[in-house]
Amino acid sequence: MKNEVTRQAFKTSIPVMAGYIVLGMGFGLLLHDAGYGAGWALLMAVTIYAGTMQYVGVSLLAGAASVLTTALTTLMVQARHLFYSISMIERYKGAGKYKPYMIFGLTDETYSLLSDDNLPVDPKDAHRYRFLVTLFNHSYWIIGCVTGNLLGEVLPFSTRGLEFSMTALFVASLTEQWITMRDHIPALTGLFSTLLCLLVFGPDNFLIPALLLITLILTLLRSREEARA
């Protein structure tokens, strides 16, 4: 039944709802403080739909970055999405008309909800279910970004420090994965490779070396990791 699929998709998306509204509001406020109104928040939330990129985007807009800098920063900050997509190739097979939007909306959080293969719906409704989870998450994000931007006008207290919600989200995800997964090698590889590259290459140029180093180490560990799985 169609309504049942919608209900299950909504249920799955609830944990992301609050997070996206809070994070989206954080972004909306930052954008407001940088001097851009609700129309800009709406445009970015609808077309970019990527938390980290939008936060970075505020400083690109405010700092009058060039098109080239913006393009390179986008490719570096977002390179991890290549890998999210890689692990969804099999799951999204046969999604037909839903597929382009499902790929467009594959954020970190949507990925973490949909890479779980225990579907709460009939397998024949899997693609419709995944499409709806993606759509619900996107709506929360848009609502958060626009509301936060509008609140910037009236908020009675200082929002300094609110940007920490992004750090908190990733620390919470890492903790959750640490508790659920038996194999901690991939997480440790990510933490220590990135830390090393940050120390060696400095805060502006370490993401690409870190991605390469992580991929290299995990490639070298492949036979060992696959034996553990």
């Binding site: 985007g57 970055a65 890492l174 997480a187 490639t219």
Partner: protein, 104 residues
């Protein structure tokens, strides 16, 4: 307009990265790529955590203490409640109090 151009670049760049693997591996996924799809997510979340700390100055006061205390609180809250919402809201509130009142 400059802003519209920059936003279009960010939107297209992000979409390109999300679509590319689906276009390249349309026929079948090589086992190596499937393996990467499995082990990369936790590694990339670890990378994102470090990324968030990239501009924290540990050598000058307050030596990154607000960030470390707040991040530690997120871990403790998460181990305790296992609710992303509680961990994120709690950790952010603690951080805001630290930078606005304690280490101001």
């Amino acid at each position: 307009m400059r802003e519209v151009k920059l936003i279009a670049v960010m939107a297209l760049g992000t979409a390109l990265l999300r679509f590319l693997p689906f276009l390249i591996f349309r026929k079948r996924t090589p086992p190596y790529i499937a393996y990467l799809g499995k082990v990369l997510p936790p590694a990339l979340i670890g990378m994102l955590v470090i990324y968030c700390f990239k501009d924290v100055r540990f050598t000058t006061a307050p030596h990154g203490l607000p960030e470390l205390i707040a991040a530690g609180s997120v871990v403790l809250l998460h181990v305790w409640k296992r609710s992303s919402l509680v961990s994120i809201l709690g950790g952010t509130a603690i951080y805001m109090v630290l930078v606005q009142l304690v280490f101001a």
